[in-house]
């Protein structure tokens, strides 16, 4: 458990399975009997290969999907009991492709949720400026631009600012830095860490990148083929004898041998 976390479970998976049925009527388990708990203030990183079920797990939290079996609880209520709109407004959501509205300026994109929540206009404007500054985009310079006029890294920053706009207590991030080139990715990752987004906020991040997991997490959840292998502190993960953890640890060692410094160093 991280030093910030108190014992309040914010997100809870209880024996959750998610099945899909393909065109031939065959069922496949994207998630299979997954249970875990995320405490207030924790940053849980779900680490796994593509197709392991990480994104599915994330979408079950904000009810973009409903579990086939088991319960997902957010702040004590199952997601089925939540009104989906209220639940999603309570949770910031950042995805790899950003999903910025192409016909909205940067400022309008960031102001989306405050406007839907009918904040007073001056409060919304202040919040937009504050957030753009926070993610390292000079407000006066960037407010009026459109997404297609931004670089990939800048778009991703706007995506983070938009997710944080209404100050949600929970933040979900699906491969948030996945589409960026390695240099930008490293930079934005460090800035993100420096933002201390997790002050009191509960964060779940999905990634296949072990560096990212070690840098950002208070806990790592290792996902493989629809199952949760276990959750580990970063130190525990590096010492783990778990066979599915071995390829990641090996990858880090190789990077070190090659003279690269891995970013948790």
């Amino acid at each position: 458990m991280s030093p910030h976390a108190d014992s309040d479970p914010i997100i809870e998976f209880r024996n959750v399975s998610y099945q899909i049925r393909d065109a031939k009527g065959q069922t496949a388990n994207l998630l299979d009997g997954v249970s875990f708990t995320v405490l207030r203030g924790e940053t849980l990183v779900l680490l796994g290969r593509s197709g392991a079920g990480k994104t599915t797990a994330l979408k079950l939290i904000n009810r973009l999907l409903d579990p086939t079996e088991g319960d997902v609880r957010v702040e004590g209520k199952t997601t089925r009991e939540w009104d989906p709109i209220a639940l999603r407004r309570h949770i910031g959501y950042v995805i790899q492709e950003t999903g910025l509205f192409p016909h909205y300026t940067v400022a309008k994109n960031v102001a989306l949720i405050p406007r839907l929540e009918r904040w007073p206009e001056d409060r919304t404007e202040n919040r937009v400026n504050e957030l753009l500054a926070l993610v390292g985009l000079e407000p006066q310079h960037f407010r009026g631009r459109y997404p297609h006029q931004l670089s990939g890294g800048q778009r991703q920053r706007v995506g983070v600012a938009r997710a944080l706009a209404a100050d949600p207590p929970i933040l979900l991030m699906d491969e948030p830095f996945g589409a960026l080139d390695p240099l930008t990715r490293g930079e934005i990752r460090h800035e993100f860490q420096a933002l201390k987004l997790n002050l009191g906020r509960t964060i779940v991040i999905v990634t296949h990148d072990i560096n990212e997991a070690l840098l950002l997490s208070t806990r790592i959840g290792l996902v493989d083929a629809g199952r949760l292998i276990g959750t580990f502190s970063p130190e525990e993960f590096m010492r783990s004898k778990e066979p599915s953890a071995a390829p990641y640890i090996e990858q880090l060692r190789e990077l070190e041998r090659a003279g690269g410094t891995h970013e948790s160093g």
């Binding site: 973009l64 639940l87 995805i95 999903g99 910025l100 509205f101 192409p102 989306l112 949720i113 839907l116």
Partner: protein, 215 residues
């Protein structure tokens, strides 16, 4: 008598027929937009309804226009007034491109944009009005443009049921084997189609939401 002289001499009749033609096409287009855009939204939102709706519109499109005017003639209320009948028939022809383009515009919205909108807690209605429809505007107008040009051509057939329009000249010219009469209907109809195409093209660019890169 040269063609130019013929046009000058009959300018009043030509202008009047052009006016009738614009009325038939304009009324049909307004109706087709009012019906076609909502149907296009339904087709995009409810895939199981897309086959029956697009199928029906497709069938209307394949009926030869002269036959369709004829079929509608005995229908009560419709057959009472020729222009009413012509407007309904033209509306049927204009529907398909409008339904198809509206639906294509909506389903063409980037999946990531839709997922982000839903994931942030926008309702279906908010997603429709704030995201899907604004992003579909260029495609919808392109559909209206295709439908308008098509309808201007087909509206010349409306003269066969007595609804007036530029087809009057064409039918009279055919009957009298008079090329000048035929051209007195065909040339203004062609100019009308070109003008409508140009104006809707301008509108398409004007209404394209800022931030969408032109292609």
């Amino acid at each position: 008598m040269s063609l130019a002289e013929f046009f000058v001499r009959h300018r009043n009749e030509i202008l009047q027929s052009t006016g009738e033609h614009v009325w038939l096409v304009g009324a049909a287009m307004l109706l087709a937009i009012a019906i076609g855009v909502p149907l296009g939204i339904v087709v995009a939102r409810r895939p199981w309804l897309s086959k029956p709706i697009l199928g029906t519109a497709n069938v209307a499109e394949t009926i030869p226009s002269l036959a369709l005017f004829g079929f509608l003639l005995p229908v009560p209320w419709l057959g009472d007034r020729a222009d009413r009948l012509a407007i309904v028939a033209l509306t049927l022809y204009a529907l398909l491109p409008i339904i198809r383009n509206t639906s294509a515009g909506i389903t063409g919205v980037d999946a990531a944009v839709r997922e982000a909108a839903r994931g942030m807690g926008m309702t279906d209605r908010q997603i429709l009005w704030k995201v899907e429809l604004p992003l579909s505007i260029p495609t919808v107008i392109a559909g209206v443009r295709i439908a308008t040009v098509l309808t201007i051509g087909i509206a010349t057939i409306a003269a066969a049921v007595g609804a007036g329009g530029l087809g009057e000249f064409i039918f009279r010219g055919l009957a009298m084997v008079n090329n000048q009469l035929i051209l007195a209907g065909a040339v203004p109809a062609a100019l009308l189609a070109l003008a409508a195409d140009f104006m809707l093209g301008v509108l398409e660019r004007r209404l394209r939401p800022a931030g969408l890169t032109a292609h």
